[in-house]
Amino acid sequence: MDELDLLKKDWNKPSQDKNLSAKDIYPMLHKKSSSIVKTLFYISIAELVFWTLINVSPYFMSASYRAKLDMVYTNQTVFTLVNMISYGIIFLFVYLLFKAHKAISVTDSAKKLMESILKTRKIIKYYVIYNLVVSFFAMVIGIYFGLKNNPEASRKFANATDEQLLLMYAVMIGFTAVFVVIIWLFYKLIYGLLLKRLNRNYNELQKLEL
């Protein structure tokens, strides 16, 4: 093909780019990277800390919450077991995240590298989903036991009309929905911006394999 041969010839002509000396290159080795992997790493650490704090802090910060929780878990063994499982899950996510970050290698093929990065993002996504589910159940269980152990509240509840009950459920569902949508938008924004180009290029590579 003539045109491309012409291009090839021109392309391989001695470079018109500036030639850096060793003296120029040395300082470059010690500059900070601004790659998406590094940003993703910081985001995942921030997410782990944030969601762990969200789920753990009420227990340490509020004595009444602690008392209520102790009341719910009248059985100490169950309490210890639940705690062990939840901390176990946090450690499992930390381990998976660490492993996924370690697996990201710039010397892999383009497709493999993109997949490793997307896998890391997926792990953190599962961690957030796990925390949302836990928060949701904690809220439901909290309300249930709160009502059960609070005679005044349970009396009000028993006396409420169907319409009032319906309204109460609607408000609760509404609040939960707004909360979930805000979090979902927040993630869309953060990861959407960060991984837009990666996703586009990954899709392009996928398309080639169809």
């Binding site: 045109e3 012409l6 290159i25 080795l29 710039v106 093929s109 383009a110 392009e204």
Partner: protein, 164 residues
């Protein structure tokens, strides 16, 4: 990292820097972005260098790291796009631009290449660097057959632009 390692790395990069410059030229369109991407490629190469095994050629290894940085890891291009254009290349292609002289042909070809998406750019880059389809497919992580099919499509596309 010891000084010896640093020294051997800088020596190799100095010798093969042209590869990184070419990638930068293809994926950025101004001087600042070019330097920015070159810097990031250098960091990525240096980080991966301790795992570099002498059995692969440094240049072959460098193609992969440089392209991966440009396609996947680099995230500053948006910020610096559309400032002064050091190559003097315009972005809109019109068939009237076509002139039969070699220089004009090249100008139009370079314009066309700059409009390709990141993956197509990588394919054409490796082709221009005389890489065979095995190496192209391994670098991008696609099958050799698909690399060949896609390359032919890009060639046809460029040909059509030159001969509307």
């Amino acid at each position: 990292m010891n000084k010896e390692l640093e020294h051997s790395f800088v020596e190799l990069l100095e010798k093969h820097q042209n590869i990184a410059h070419k990638v930068c030229r293809l994926y950025t369109n101004n001087y600042d972005a070019h330097n920015d991407l070159f810097q990031e490629i250098t960091i990525q190469l240096w980080r991966a260098y301790p795992k570099f095994r002498g059995d692969a050629k440094f240049s072959t290894w460098m193609y992969r790291v440089a392209l991966n940085t440009a396609i996947t890891l680099y995230r500053k291009s948006k910020r610096t796009i559309n400032t002064q254009d050091f190559s003097g290349v315009e972005f809109k292609i019109k068939s009237e631009d076509y002139d039969n002289t070699e220089e004009e042909q090249l100008k139009v070809l370079y314009k066309a290449i700059r409009q390709l998406n990141d993956i197509d750019k990588a394919l054409i880059f490796l082709y221009l660097e005389d890489k065979d389809y095995r190496e192209i497919s391994e670098t991008l992580g696609i099958s050799e057959v698909n690399a060949r099919v896609k390359m032919n499509r890009i060639k046809t596309k460029l040909k059509t632009i030159l001969n509307p």
